[in-house]
C-alpha cells in the first residue's frame, strides 16, 4: 500500500502539485495523463529517486522519506528499458541479486528461471543493444523482478512495441498481476492500456491529480472536460441547464436543447459528453423513435475505419456518430445527406462546469485529499 499525502516536487520548470493518491496491494494501478504531466516523476518519487519538497509518501503506513532507493525493493522499468550496455543479458538480470550479495549458485538458478519465464533463454550471452525492443523490454522486466520486488513500476512499457508484441505483453502483464499477485503501477498516455489492464487509475494533468478512481468509473464518469477528452469522448458539448424536473434536465446548447439525466440545477453551466456509438442515426425523413433527443441535420463528414464509419452531422452544433459501415452504405450516408439523429437522455454524461478556474482548482485539491 502506497499513499501520497499532498506530495509536491519541483523539478526545473516542472511542478508536481500537492498530489494525493493511494495504491493498494491488489491494484494494477494506472497513472494516465498527457506527455509532460509529471507521471514519470511520480514513479521516481515512489522508488525514492526523488524526494518530495513537501508532503509525505507512506509505504504500508510508514513514512519512507529517509529510505534510500536501494533499500526499498521496488522494481522500476523505464520507457527506454535502460539496460546496462556493457553487460550481457544474463548479467543485467543478475545485477540486483549480486547487489544483495546472494550466493552465486542461487543467482544462476534464479536467472535461468526468469529467462525461461520470459522466453529469453537464447539471448543470455547477447549484448542489450543488439536486441529488439520487445526483447529488451522482457530483459528489463526480468531484471526488475529478480529482486523480488513488492511493487513493480512501469513507465510506458508498451509505447515502443509493435502491435503483436504489444498484445503478447499485455497478456504477460495481466498474468504477473493476477497469478503472481504483484502490485503494478503503470504509467501511460494510452487509454487502451488502462482499459484492458487496470483496476484503478489516476489522471494527472499539468502536475495535478484530477481524478482517482476505479478505471471503469473514470471511463464512464469523468469529472472534468479534460479527463473526458483524454479518455476519448468524441462529443463534448457545452451548454446551460434551462430546466430541471425530477433528474431530467433540459440543456440549452445554443441552437438546440437536449434532455439529459443528471443531478444538475437550473442555471448550471455544464459540459455534455457523449460516446459516438451511443448515437442512433436515422434518415431525415424517418419518423418515430423512442429516444428523447431527435434532431434534423446534414452530414458534413464521413470517415470509414474498418467495419465502422463515423459521420459528423451538423444539427446546429456538430456531433459525431458511429454506425456500421454496412448500414452507412445501405442508408447511403454521405456528406450532404439530410439525416435525423437521436440519442437517449441517459447516454449523456454531464459534468458541472466550475464557476471559475481558481475555484475549480481548490475544489479538486479538496477532492484529492
Amino acid at each position: 500500500m502506497i499513499e501520497f499525502e499532498r506530495v509536491s516536487i519541483a523539478l526545473g520548470d516542472f511542478q508536481l502539485d500537492e498530489v494525493s493518491l493511494s495504491i493498494r496491494d491488489d491494484d494494477y494501478y494506472f497513472i494516465m495523463g498527457p506527455s509532460g504531466a509529471g507521471k514519470t516523476i511520480i514513479l521516481e518519487a515512489i522508488s525514492g529517486l526523488l524526494v518530495p519538497d513537501s508532503g509525505r509518501i507512506l509505504l504500508d503506513g510508514h513514512d519512507v522519506s529517509g529510505i534510500q532507493p536501494e533499500k526499498r525493493k521496488i522494481g522500476l522499468v523505464y520507457q527506454d528499458y535502460s539496460l546496462f550496455p556493457h553487460m550481457t543479458v544474463e548479467k543485467n538480470i543478475a545485477f540486483g541479486m549480486r547487489m544483495r550479495r546472494l550466493p552465486e549458485a542461487e543467482i544462476g538458478k534464479q536467472v535461468r528461471q526468469l529467462m525461461k519465464q520470459f522466453g529469453i533463454t537464447p539471448l543470455a550471452q547477447r549484448a542489450p543493444l543488439t536486441l529488439s525492443g520487445g526483447e529488451q523490454q522482457r530483459v528489463a522486466i526480468a531484471r526488475a523482478l529478480a529482486i523480488e520486488p513488492e511493487l513493480l513500476l512501469l513507465d510506458e512499457p508498451l509505447a515502443a512495441l509493435d502491435p503483436i508484441t504489444r498484445d503478447q505483453f499485455i497478456e504477460e502483464l495481466r498474468l504477473l498481476h493476477r497469478d503472481d499477485g504483484l502490485t503494478i503501477v503503470h504509467v501511460t498516455h494510452d487509454r487502451r492500456d488502462a482499459a484492458s489492464l487496470g483496476t484503478r487509475m489516476a489522471m494527472i494533468i499539468d502536475g495535478r491529480l484530477i481524478q482517482e478512481d476505479r478505471v471503469e468509473t473514470i471511463f464512464s464518469s469523468p469529472c472534468r472536460e479534460q479527463v473526458a477528452r483524454f479518455i476519448g469522448y468524441e462529443n463534448i458539448l457545452k451548454g446551460k441547464v434551462v430546466s430541471c424536473d425530477d433528474g431530467l434536465c433540459i440543456v440549452d446548447l445554443g441552437k438546440n436543447r437536449v434532455s439529459v439525466v443528471a443531478d444538475a440545477h437550473y442555471g448550471d453551466n455544464v459540459v455534455l459528453c457523449m460516446r459516438a456509438d451511443d448515437i442512433t442515426v436515422l434518415l431525415s425523413d424517418g419518423r418515430g423513435t423512442s429516444a428523447r433527443n431527435t434532431f434534423k441535420g446534414t452530414i458534413v463528414k464521413k470517415t470509414v475505419c474498418g467495419s465502422l464509419a463515423t459521420i459528423t452531422v451538423d444539427i446546429g452544433v456538430e456531433v459525431t456518430a458511429a454506425v456500421t459501415r454496412k448500414s452507412a452504405e445501405e442508408l447511403g450516408l454521405e456528406s450532404g445527406v439530410p439525416v435525423c439523429l437521436s440519442f437517449k437522455a441517459s447516454a449523456i454524461h454531464v459534468i458541472k462546469e466550475p464557476v471559475s478556474d481558481e475555484h475549480s482548482a481548490k475544489n479538486h485539491r479538496f477532492k484529492a485529499l
Partner: protein
C-alpha cells in the same frame, strides 16, 4: 558506406548513386591543404635526418637524450595518474549537478586553455616556489619543486587539467541518469552505481582524456622551464641544443622524440579500439 557491404576504401567520393560527389571532392581538396602542413614538416625533418643516419643514431643513444625522454614520459604519466585520482570525481560532480558554482569551477578548470603558458608557468612557480604559498609547507615536509621532478609534474598537471576533466565530464554526461537510477532501485548504492555502471560505460572517454592530457603534458615547455629548467624535459633539451649546438643537433633530438611519440600514440590509439566497444552502435 551503405550498399558497399561496409568495406573501407581509401577515398570515397562517389556517394550511393555511383556519381562523383563534387561537394565532398572540393571539401577534400580544401581540407587537404591543412593536412599538407604537418605532412610537409614531417617529411622535411625526416629527409634531413636520413642524410646522416650515423649522427642520428649517435644522438638517439646519448644518455642525456634517452633520460630526458624517459623523464618527460614519466612525469607526464605521474601527472595523468594524479588527474585520474582527483579529476574523475570532480568530473562526475560537474556532470551530475547543475548550479552556478559549476560554471565557476568549469571556468577555473579551463583557465590554462586560454592563458599564455608563460603566465601559467609563472602562476605555478609563485605558488610552489620555496617561498610560495604551497611551497613553504611542502618544503618543510622535504618536497622541493624548484628545479626538481615534482615541479615538472605540477606544471604539467596545471596545463593538462582541462583536457582530462572536460573529456571525462562529457563521457559521464553521456551515461543516461536512468541507468544509474535503475541500478539504485536494484540495490546499488550511489557509489556502487558509479563504479559498476557509470565508470565502465564511459571508459573510452576516460582513456581518451588520459591520452589527451598526457599528450598535452609531455609537449609542455614554457610552463615547465619557469619552475624546473633542470632536470631537462625533452622540450627544454631541444631548446638548449638549438641554442648551443644549432639546427642539426636539435632537429636530431626532435626527430627521436617524434619517433618515440608516434610509436606510443599509435599503440594507445589501437588499444582504444578494443575498449568499450559495446557503445559503438549507440
Amino acid at each position: 558506406m551503405a550498399g558497399t557491404g561496409g568495406k573501407r576504401r581509401w577515398i570515397h567520393v562517389t556517394g550511393n548513386t555511383g556519381q562523383l560527389d563534387w561537394c565532398l571532392i572540393s571539401f577534400a581538396i580544401i581540407g587537404g591543404m591543412l593536412v599538407l602542413l604537418p605532412l610537409l614538416a614531417l617529411i622535411n625533418i625526416t629527409l634531413g635526418q636520413l642524410e646522416d643516419i650515423p649522427f642520428l643514431i649517435e644522438i638517439a643513444t646519448q644518455t642525456q637524450v634517452v633520460d630526458s625522454i624517459l623523464l618527460t614520459f614519466g612525469a607526464g604519466l605521474v601527472a595523468v595518474i594524479i588527474l585520474v585520482i582527483f579529476g574523475t570525481p570532480l568530473s562526475y560532480v560537474l556532470a551530475r549537478t547543475e548550479s552556478r558554482l559549476n560554471q565557476v569551477v568549469e571556468s577555473l578548470i579551463d583557465l590554462p586553455l586560454v592563458l599564455p603558458h608563460t603566465v601559467a608557468g609563472l602562476m605555478v612557480y609563485i605558488l610552489f616556489m620555496q617561498r610560495g604559498l604551497i611551497g613553504v609547507p611542502l618544503k618543510n615536509m622535504g618536497i622541493v619543486f624548484e628545479d626538481a621532478f615534482p615541479g615538472i609534474v605540477v606544471a604539467m598537471l596545471f596545463v593538462a587539467m582541462p583536457f582530462y576533466v572536460n573529456s571525462v565530464r562529457e563521457g559521464f554526461q553521456k551515461v543516461p541518469v536512468h541507468l544509474e537510477n535503475v541500478a539504485r532501485t536494484l540495490g546499488a548504492t550511489r557509489f556502487r552505481a558509479f563504479c559498476l555502471i557509470v565508470l565502465p560505460s564511459s571508459i573510452r572517454h576516460i582513456f581518451n582524456g588520459c591520452i589527451l592530457a598526457w599528450g598535452r603534458a609531455i609537449s609542455e615547455f614554457a610552463a615547465i622551464i619557469m619552475i624546473a629548467y633542470y632536470p631537462m624535459v625533452i622540450s627544454t633539451l631541444i631548446y638548449y641544443r638549438f641554442t648551443t649546438g644549432g639546427i642539426k643537433e636539435s632537429s636530431a633530438v626532435a626527430f627521436v622524440m617524434i619517433a618515440a611519440c608516434l610509436i606510443v600514440f599509435l599503440a594507445l590509439r589501437s588499444f582504444t579500439r578494443y575498449l568499450g566497444r559495446y557503445d559503438d552502435r549507440v
